[in-house]
Symmetry: D2
Subunit: 306 residues, 4 copies
């Protein structure tokens, strides 16, 4: 029989917080009502903790479990990504009898079909979706799902500066305040704008589930406008105009996501955790700007005071 060095006692007997793998890639099919399943190329991470008296976790067992679960579950389309991730974590715990905690996460690019706003051209959009689960030996589990989408964000500050100076010039040219107000409303005012990425991650439980499609919608609503791969000229005009009527700081984006989330899930339990993040690839800088909010649903509700 082959020796199993991984069961030996280690030289330095400390427990390890996490032992596992990153970068496991698999095909995953998610079923949809009355439609062909969604195909995802997902990337998984999986970890267990390792007590101090074992030299090495038998790492290959992690992979077997991941593969077995995914192979068996993907023989037919799965219902949703969070159940897949929980299932993997639970079976990892069962198979690693010495472990008291298992962590699993997956992330995938999801290609959505959509239409342009004016000309109605069919096109596709890439959205990142993900789910994380931690399962404990005592049966507790913490599970998150989420999405990250791209969009255009227009800076309100620069637009206000440009507008303010334009108003001054129009006043010097002799226009009245009332006229200026009408002119300004007719001419979309320049600002800097850029690619943004809105990210929502929210806890799910047996008593609280969310729709990833809904999360994607909320994330999109948090930027000045959506982006598209095809744009006819009337689409392009429409997007630029609408985005400039809806300028947003990174802070505004995060606050908008908080608000829309509370509106979409008014009955969400107060202790559900939420993570919101907006990142803008500033067109006037080499660096990016970021805003984040980490809170429970209860805290969000109290702050927003709906």
């Amino acid at each position: 029989m082959l020796p199993d060095i991984q069961l030996l006692k280690p030289d330095v007997p400390i427990e390890l917080s996490k032992v596992g793998v990153t970068g496991i890639r698999k095909l995953v099919q998610v079923s949809r009502k009355d439609k062909r399943p969604v195909i995802l190329i997902a990337t998984f991470e999986a970890f267990v903790n390792l007590p101090s008296h074992l030299k090495g976790v038998s790492l290959s067992r992690n992979f077997e479990v991941i593969d077995e679960v995914i192979e068996s579950l993907t023989a037919q389309p799965i219902e949703n990504i969070e159940d897949l991730v929980i299932k993997i974590a639970e079976i990892l715990l069962e198979r690693h009898e010495y472990a008291t905690r298992a962590e699993v996460s997956m992330v995938a690019d999801f290609i959505m079909r959509k239409k342009t706003p004016k000309s109605g051209q069919k096109t596709q959009e890439v959205v990142k979706i993900f789910s994380d689960a931690i399962a404990s030996i005592d049966g507790k589990k913490i599970v998150f799902v989420g999405a990250e989408v791209s969009g255009i964000t227009v800076c309100p500050c620069a637009q206000e500066l440009v507008k303010s100076k334009a108003i001054e010039k129009l006043m010097e040219m002799g226009y009245s305040e009332k006229e200026i107000s009408k002119i300004i409303s007719a001419v979309p005012i320049a600002s800097h704008n850029q690619r943004g990425r809105a990210k929502i991650k929210i806890q799910v439980r047996d008593d609280f589930r969310v729709s990833i499609t809904k999360l994607i919608e909320i994330a999109k609503s948090a930027m000045s406008f959506e982006t598209f791969e095809i744009l006819k000229r009337d689409d392009e005009l429409d997007i630029v105009e609408k985005a400039h009527c809806n300028p947003m700081f990174v802070e505004d984006s995060v606050r908008k996501m908080a608000l829309e989330l509370i509106k979409a899930y008014p009955h969400a339990p107060n202790d559900i955790l939420v993570f919101l993040r907006q990142e803008n690839e500033e067109s006037i800088h080499q660096h990016n700007v970021i805003a984040e909010k980490i809170a429970t649903i209860g805290e969000l509700k109290a702050e927003i005071n709906l």
Copy 2:
């Protein structure tokens, strides 16, 4: 005067956990005794929290502060990276009178000079060094420094499997156990081996400082052997032999770092936090394997029982 839209009240009045920037790159010079300063191209992140009654943090103030501090501190070489990072966090707090918490981190590639083990060829090695600081309005601060180094790791499990089968073959060939033991010690046994990355991050305080050079040494000691950019044939032989006499799982690497850290800093306070991580780019897989340990010095000491 130009309007300051960032002082307006936001539509959704929630506090933001973090508002700030990523990807700020600067030249930093770190002074050394009796030597030319070390030159780093560092990348900074900087964040403050933002109360619910302000629309947008005046983001440009973050940059001014970062730039002013770095400009003024790098006019002459700095003492160490943690003091730089703390200083930036503290001044960010001072300048953002509404903020109660500031977070700053920097990471840089550090090019070290070294010599090959046998032929003594001069060469250079790239090591990642970093520091993070969180400063609060009440004067508390939490600061970490760390390093991440590359090395070669040899798998003990595969080596044991290969050895076990070789012993069987030698027994079939009629050699005695004693002879086989001598033969095996003369012939370095094959295994799979790969690039590894060892990472140490440790808390520092007014009453506890560490040397980054020491952290780099400890991280290097946690893999089967160091790597080099130039290797003469006798160096290459030396490295392969020594690495194969020192096979290590990712778990072993993390445990070795824990042990060496305790030995190097026997008087470190018990509540100092430590984060250790080993990642191996497995040569027999497309995925990586990882082990992590997060603990206080006190917990490490209790477990290791030195």
Copy 3:
């Protein structure tokens, strides 16, 4: 009517070699005999040249064409990726009546199912496949297909150095040359080994087609052994032993690909272009090593002299 600024005369009247897009991502289904189609998430680039008298190519037309072709072709599974890429290039040329050349490329991760060598565990492997096409107004086209696969490579040089020293030691221990030869053949000798990537790109034409599956096989054969995501202990032993019996420099890998390609396609026309490349992520260095061969089939045949 909306103005079309893209048809204006530019200020600096020079022809542009390439105008187009990168990073267009689409779902592509490739049909297989008696099996479910392969699902790919492909990334496309598409360019045309632009004469000096036009200000801007009407870029949105590129996207429409790409989308239309892909939408219509992927309503049902496609036959192969090269025909898709050629078709896009040809239609781009038709739609951009001023352009005389169109270039299109696609690359995708292809998830293959396979079994481990000993225990026969089912697992999946990620392989990169790609195709490029250039179409000219005069009807000429140049088309390539290719694949890039991962594997393990064992260094022959370090192994020879280790072996040579082991032989010396065994001689000092009193073993005869004949005995040493038998011992050495029973004990797999250590070397350094690492992740490698073998890449083949070959021209295809109406009179010469290749199978991407065959290219993947050839690329795999050019490294010391394949890699797998799941490995039982007897698989791991098998891989390490076999890889160490088949040590290969980057140069050997490229030469092996050349040989296997000629053997697989003995009737390939002499003017077919071939690009071969091996990259090893050296486990004893921070840098990578590379070998490349660019030649026609005729040149390869003449050199190899089969």
Copy 4:
């Protein structure tokens, strides 16, 4: 003596186009008149060709040469990066007596100091600079230097669409053509804008040298405006206004670079090769758009007809 397996005859006797390394990182100091030297962390690639009768190029010699040349040249600051790259290529050829061609390239991030346009704040900017050299055994060499800079680009097409509709609205509001023209000139018109990257690469020879600082200037002039890491509000206003008065397609950027290059080097030999490229990270799309021009100086002059 240690065996040298790299001098053996290979099994498949074909010449290799390129054998070498990527990812060699070194500190490089470039001297400047009356100033402290510029510090670069440079990444090198180095290749030679390998004839069919040698099994493996003695790869370690590449590294020795690279290291020796850089160690000796960087003991004191170098004059310029192209001479460094040529020198490495020439010495590689000398040391690899069987090789007939050597290729070397380096790329580095260069941190430039600059001031904001209005408030004059000191800040830093990261610019990529690079040089490539191919040296042949017959003494011929081909050498390039270049730079890639970031900037903001405003889309002329979207701006024209927005303006056109604004004019229509103003006409409906009863303003005369003359008034509208004055209003429009007072109000910067919205468009989409984004991060762009302009890249210039140009051949240098004994009879023709360029200044990298000049190339950086030309590349910057090819976008709607520069970007800055610090911006006071009056700087931000200035940049947004100026960028919107200077909208540019990717095609315009490439043509502007061509023009400025010809103006800056009116006496450049006609056979000097030039490579120009503009890439915009479109804020209304997930993909990027690109324009490229590859030509000789003579061709550029003929087309531009200055």
